[in-house]
Protein backbone atom coordinates (compact mmCIF):
# COMPACT_ATOMS: atom_id res chain seq x y z
CA UNK A 1 0.00 0.00 0.00
CA UNK A 2 1.70 3.19 -1.16
CA UNK A 3 -1.23 5.55 -1.05
CA UNK A 4 -1.27 7.59 2.16
CA UNK A 5 -4.99 8.36 2.22
CA UNK A 6 -5.76 4.71 1.52
CA UNK A 7 -3.59 3.84 4.52
CA UNK A 8 -5.50 6.24 6.76
CA UNK A 9 -8.83 4.90 5.50
CA UNK A 10 -7.72 1.35 6.23
CA UNK A 11 -6.71 2.37 9.75
CA UNK A 12 -10.14 3.94 10.20
CA UNK A 13 -11.92 0.78 9.06
CA UNK A 14 -9.72 -1.29 11.40
CA UNK A 15 -10.56 0.94 14.37
CA UNK A 16 -14.26 0.75 13.48
CA UNK A 17 -14.11 -3.03 13.27
CA UNK A 18 -12.33 -3.24 16.63
CA UNK A 19 -15.01 -0.99 18.16
CA UNK A 20 -17.81 -3.15 16.76
CA UNK A 21 -16.13 -6.24 18.22
CA UNK A 22 -15.71 -4.48 21.58
CA UNK A 23 -19.42 -3.66 21.53
CA UNK A 24 -20.45 -7.14 20.36
CA UNK A 25 -18.45 -8.54 23.26
CA UNK A 26 -20.63 -6.68 25.76
CA UNK A 27 -23.72 -8.34 24.24
CA UNK A 28 -22.39 -11.89 24.51
CA UNK A 29 -23.56 -14.02 27.42
CA UNK A 30 -20.78 -14.97 29.87
CA UNK A 31 -18.75 -17.79 28.39
CA UNK A 32 -17.59 -19.41 31.58
CA UNK A 33 -20.26 -19.92 34.19
CA UNK A 34 -17.73 -20.37 36.97
CA UNK A 35 -16.13 -17.00 36.29
CA UNK A 36 -18.75 -14.72 34.76
CA UNK A 37 -17.90 -11.56 32.91
CA UNK A 38 -14.56 -12.71 31.58
CA UNK A 39 -14.09 -10.87 28.33
CA UNK A 40 -12.92 -12.65 25.22
CA UNK A 41 -10.93 -9.67 23.98
CA UNK A 42 -12.48 -9.93 20.53
CA UNK A 43 -10.96 -6.62 19.31
CA UNK A 44 -7.59 -8.30 19.66
CA UNK A 45 -8.41 -10.34 16.54
CA UNK A 46 -8.05 -7.12 14.55
CA UNK A 47 -4.83 -6.17 16.33
CA UNK A 48 -3.27 -9.61 15.73
CA UNK A 49 -4.20 -9.47 12.07
CA UNK A 50 -2.66 -6.02 11.69
CA UNK A 51 0.46 -7.05 13.61
CA UNK A 52 1.07 -9.76 11.03
CA UNK A 53 -0.04 -7.86 7.96
CA UNK A 54 0.85 -4.24 8.59
CA UNK A 55 3.54 -4.35 11.22
CA UNK A 56 3.89 -3.01 14.77
CA UNK A 57 3.40 0.72 14.15
CA UNK A 58 0.10 0.31 12.34
CA UNK A 59 -1.23 -2.30 14.78
CA UNK A 60 -0.12 -0.23 17.78
CA UNK A 61 -1.76 2.94 16.48
CA UNK A 62 -5.06 1.17 15.82
CA UNK A 63 -4.89 -0.53 19.21
CA UNK A 64 -4.48 2.67 21.20
CA UNK A 65 -6.98 4.71 19.21
CA UNK A 66 -9.43 1.87 19.87
CA UNK A 67 -8.70 1.89 23.62
CA UNK A 68 -9.40 5.61 23.89
CA UNK A 69 -12.59 5.38 21.86
CA UNK A 70 -13.90 2.38 23.81
CA UNK A 71 -13.28 4.25 27.08
CA UNK A 72 -14.99 7.31 25.63
CA UNK A 73 -18.03 5.36 24.41
CA UNK A 74 -18.55 2.65 27.01
CA UNK A 75 -16.25 3.41 29.94
CA UNK A 76 -14.96 5.98 32.43
CA UNK A 77 -11.64 7.36 33.65
CA UNK A 78 -10.87 4.32 35.81
CA UNK A 79 -11.61 1.85 33.04
CA UNK A 80 -9.41 3.90 30.70
CA UNK A 81 -6.44 3.52 33.06
CA UNK A 82 -7.03 -0.24 33.30
CA UNK A 83 -7.38 -0.51 29.55
CA UNK A 84 -4.27 1.52 28.77
CA UNK A 85 -2.12 -0.56 31.14
CA UNK A 86 -3.62 -3.76 29.77
CA UNK A 87 -3.20 -2.52 26.22
CA UNK A 88 0.47 -1.60 26.66
CA UNK A 89 1.39 -4.89 28.36
CA UNK A 90 -0.57 -6.90 25.83
CA UNK A 91 0.84 -5.10 22.81
CA UNK A 92 4.47 -5.22 23.96
CA UNK A 93 4.16 -8.95 24.75
CA UNK A 94 2.66 -9.72 21.36
CA UNK A 95 5.24 -7.59 19.60
CA UNK A 96 8.14 -9.36 21.33
CA UNK A 97 6.78 -12.83 20.65
CA UNK A 98 6.06 -11.91 17.06
CA UNK A 99 9.65 -10.70 16.64
CA UNK A 100 11.07 -13.81 18.32
CA UNK A 101 9.25 -15.86 15.69
CA UNK A 102 9.11 -18.85 18.04
CA UNK A 103 5.33 -19.02 18.29
CA UNK A 104 2.35 -19.11 15.97
CA UNK A 105 -0.50 -16.61 16.02
CA UNK A 106 -2.05 -18.63 18.84
CA UNK A 107 1.01 -18.32 21.10
CA UNK A 108 1.28 -14.59 20.36
CA UNK A 109 -2.40 -14.13 21.14
CA UNK A 110 -2.22 -16.14 24.38
CA UNK A 111 0.70 -14.02 25.59
CA UNK A 112 -1.29 -10.92 24.65
CA UNK A 113 -4.37 -12.09 26.53
CA UNK A 114 -2.50 -13.00 29.70
CA UNK A 115 -0.34 -9.87 29.72
CA UNK A 116 -3.44 -7.78 29.16
CA UNK A 117 -4.75 -9.11 32.46
CA UNK A 118 -1.36 -8.66 34.16
CA UNK A 119 -1.34 -5.00 33.10
CA UNK A 120 -4.86 -4.46 34.39
CA UNK A 121 -4.06 -6.14 37.71
CA UNK A 122 -0.95 -4.00 38.18
CA UNK A 123 -3.02 -0.88 37.49
CA UNK A 124 -5.56 -2.10 40.01
CA UNK A 125 -2.82 -2.82 42.55
CA UNK A 126 -1.73 0.81 42.34
CA UNK A 127 -5.22 2.34 42.12
CA UNK A 128 -6.76 0.23 44.87
CA UNK A 129 -3.62 0.33 46.98
CA UNK A 130 -3.58 -3.40 47.55
CA UNK A 131 -1.06 -6.14 46.88
CA UNK A 132 -3.52 -8.94 47.36
CA UNK A 133 -4.48 -9.38 43.76
CA UNK A 134 -2.52 -12.58 43.26
CA UNK A 135 -5.52 -14.86 43.38
CA UNK A 136 -7.44 -12.68 40.97
CA UNK A 137 -4.45 -12.68 38.65
CA UNK A 138 -4.21 -16.48 38.70
CA UNK A 139 -7.87 -16.79 37.73
CA UNK A 140 -7.46 -14.19 35.01
CA UNK A 141 -4.32 -15.95 33.72
CA UNK A 142 -6.42 -19.06 33.07
CA UNK A 143 -9.20 -17.13 31.34
CA UNK A 144 -6.68 -15.04 29.40
CA UNK A 145 -5.03 -18.21 28.13
CA UNK A 146 -8.32 -19.79 27.03
CA UNK A 147 -9.52 -16.60 25.36
CA UNK A 148 -6.08 -16.14 23.77
CA UNK A 149 -6.28 -19.55 22.10
CA UNK A 150 -9.65 -18.69 20.58
CA UNK A 151 -8.54 -15.22 19.47
CA UNK A 152 -5.31 -16.68 18.06
CA UNK A 153 -7.21 -19.24 15.99
CA UNK A 154 -9.42 -16.47 14.57
CA UNK A 155 -6.27 -14.45 13.82
CA UNK A 156 -4.62 -17.42 12.08
CA UNK A 157 -7.70 -17.86 9.93
CA UNK A 158 -7.73 -14.19 8.92
CA UNK A 159 -4.01 -13.96 8.21
CA UNK A 160 -4.28 -17.04 5.97
CA UNK A 161 -7.55 -16.26 4.21
CA UNK A 162 -7.71 -12.49 3.75
CA UNK A 163 -6.10 -11.65 0.37
CA UNK A 164 -2.69 -9.99 0.54
CA UNK A 165 -3.77 -6.90 -1.34
CA UNK A 166 -6.37 -5.93 1.28
Amino acid sequence: MKNKSKEVAFAGISVALALILAYAETLLPPLFVAVPGIKMGLPNIVIIFLLYRRGPAFAGAVSFIRIFLVALLFGNAASLIYSICGGIFSFVAMLLLRKMNLFSTVGVSVAGGVMHNVGQILAAAVLLNTEQLGYYLAVLAVSGTVAGVFIGLCGTFLVKRVPEKV
Binding site: F103, A124, T130, Q132, L133, Y135, A138, A141, T145
Partner: protein
Amino acid sequence: MTEKHRFRNDMILIAVLLLVAFSSIVCYNCFRSTGNTVTVRVDGTDYGVYPLSVNATKDIYSGENGCNLNRLVIRDGKAYIETATCPDGICVAHKPIFRDGESIICLPNRVVVTISTADHTDTPDVIM
Protein backbone atom coordinates in the same frame (compact mmCIF):
# COMPACT_ATOMS: atom_id res chain seq x y z
CA MET B 1 11.30 -22.39 12.49
CA THR B 2 8.64 -24.62 11.01
CA GLU B 3 4.90 -24.63 11.56
CA LYS B 4 5.31 -27.78 13.67
CA HIS B 5 7.89 -26.19 15.96
CA ARG B 6 5.70 -23.16 16.45
CA PHE B 7 2.77 -25.37 17.36
CA ARG B 8 4.92 -27.21 19.91
CA ASN B 9 6.13 -23.91 21.39
CA ASP B 10 2.53 -22.68 21.61
CA MET B 11 1.60 -25.78 23.55
CA ILE B 12 4.55 -25.36 25.93
CA LEU B 13 3.63 -21.71 26.53
CA ILE B 14 -0.01 -22.58 27.23
CA ALA B 15 0.92 -25.51 29.50
CA VAL B 16 3.37 -23.38 31.52
CA LEU B 17 0.85 -20.57 31.95
CA LEU B 18 -1.93 -22.88 33.07
CA LEU B 19 0.41 -24.80 35.38
CA VAL B 20 1.65 -21.63 37.08
CA ALA B 21 -1.89 -20.27 37.41
CA PHE B 22 -3.43 -23.45 38.80
CA SER B 23 -0.55 -24.16 41.18
CA SER B 24 -0.71 -20.63 42.57
CA ILE B 25 -4.45 -21.06 43.13
CA VAL B 26 -3.84 -24.37 44.92
CA CYS B 27 -0.93 -23.02 47.01
CA TYR B 28 -2.96 -19.97 47.86
CA ASN B 29 -5.74 -22.16 49.22
CA CYS B 30 -3.55 -24.56 51.19
CA PHE B 31 -1.07 -22.44 53.12
CA ARG B 32 -3.27 -20.02 54.95
CA SER B 33 -4.47 -19.91 58.51
CA THR B 34 -7.95 -18.71 59.40
CA GLY B 35 -8.26 -14.96 60.00
CA ASN B 36 -10.64 -13.16 62.34
CA THR B 37 -11.24 -9.73 60.83
CA VAL B 38 -12.86 -8.48 57.65
CA THR B 39 -11.54 -5.19 56.29
CA VAL B 40 -13.37 -3.35 53.54
CA ARG B 41 -11.62 -0.72 51.48
CA VAL B 42 -13.14 1.41 48.76
CA ASP B 43 -10.90 3.28 46.34
CA GLY B 44 -7.89 2.46 48.49
CA THR B 45 -9.28 4.04 51.66
CA ASP B 46 -10.70 2.19 54.66
CA TYR B 47 -14.46 1.76 54.63
CA GLY B 48 -15.15 -0.59 57.52
CA VAL B 49 -13.71 -3.29 59.78
CA TYR B 50 -15.91 -6.19 60.90
CA PRO B 51 -15.27 -9.27 63.04
CA LEU B 52 -15.46 -12.55 61.13
CA SER B 53 -17.12 -14.23 64.08
CA VAL B 54 -20.32 -12.15 64.02
CA ASN B 55 -22.90 -12.87 61.35
CA ALA B 56 -23.75 -9.67 59.50
CA THR B 57 -24.86 -8.17 56.21
CA LYS B 58 -23.20 -4.93 55.14
CA ASP B 59 -24.03 -2.83 52.10
CA ILE B 60 -20.91 -1.26 50.63
CA TYR B 61 -21.64 1.82 48.58
CA SER B 62 -19.03 3.14 46.16
CA GLY B 63 -18.65 5.27 43.07
CA GLU B 64 -20.02 8.72 42.41
CA ASN B 65 -23.09 9.41 44.60
CA GLY B 66 -22.56 5.94 46.10
CA CYS B 67 -24.56 4.41 43.28
CA ASN B 68 -22.52 1.18 43.17
CA LEU B 69 -23.40 -1.52 45.66
CA ASN B 70 -21.65 -4.65 46.92
CA ARG B 71 -23.55 -6.55 49.60
CA LEU B 72 -21.06 -8.19 51.94
CA VAL B 73 -22.33 -11.10 53.99
CA ILE B 74 -20.47 -12.55 56.98
CA ARG B 75 -21.85 -15.92 58.00
CA ASP B 76 -20.44 -18.88 59.92
CA GLY B 77 -16.95 -17.36 59.98
CA LYS B 78 -16.81 -16.75 56.25
CA ALA B 79 -17.29 -13.62 54.17
CA TYR B 80 -18.65 -13.33 50.65
CA ILE B 81 -20.33 -10.86 48.31
CA GLU B 82 -24.01 -11.77 47.95
CA THR B 83 -25.00 -9.28 45.28
CA ALA B 84 -23.27 -6.49 43.43
CA THR B 85 -24.05 -3.91 40.78
CA CYS B 86 -20.75 -4.41 38.98
CA PRO B 87 -20.92 -5.52 35.35
CA ASP B 88 -18.57 -8.50 35.62
CA GLY B 89 -19.90 -10.21 38.75
CA ILE B 90 -16.52 -11.73 39.56
CA CYS B 91 -16.81 -10.66 43.20
CA VAL B 92 -20.17 -12.44 43.56
CA ALA B 93 -18.80 -15.60 41.95
CA HIS B 94 -15.79 -15.56 44.30
CA LYS B 95 -15.97 -18.33 46.88
CA PRO B 96 -16.39 -17.32 50.55
CA ILE B 97 -13.14 -16.17 52.15
CA PHE B 98 -11.94 -16.83 55.70
CA ARG B 99 -8.19 -17.43 55.54
CA ASP B 100 -5.69 -14.78 56.59
CA GLY B 101 -4.79 -12.59 53.62
CA GLU B 102 -7.60 -13.80 51.37
CA SER B 103 -9.51 -11.11 49.57
CA ILE B 104 -12.39 -10.50 47.22
CA ILE B 105 -11.78 -7.70 44.80
CA CYS B 106 -14.41 -5.92 42.77
CA LEU B 107 -12.42 -4.06 40.12
CA PRO B 108 -15.35 -2.17 38.56
CA ASN B 109 -16.62 -0.86 41.91
CA ARG B 110 -13.05 -0.57 43.29
CA VAL B 111 -13.98 -2.46 46.44
CA VAL B 112 -11.49 -4.70 48.26
CA VAL B 113 -12.61 -7.07 51.03
CA THR B 114 -9.70 -8.61 52.91
CA ILE B 115 -9.40 -11.14 55.73
CA SER B 116 -6.76 -10.40 58.31
CA THR B 117 -5.78 -11.39 61.81
CA ALA B 118 -6.12 -8.55 64.27
CA ASP B 119 -4.81 -8.73 67.85
CA HIS B 120 -7.85 -7.23 69.50
CA THR B 121 -10.88 -9.04 68.20
CA ASP B 122 -12.90 -8.30 71.31
CA THR B 123 -12.81 -4.52 71.02
CA PRO B 124 -16.42 -3.39 71.08
CA ASP B 125 -15.84 -0.17 69.18
CA VAL B 126 -15.29 -1.64 65.75
CA ILE B 127 -17.38 0.02 63.09
CA MET B 128 -20.48 -2.07 62.90
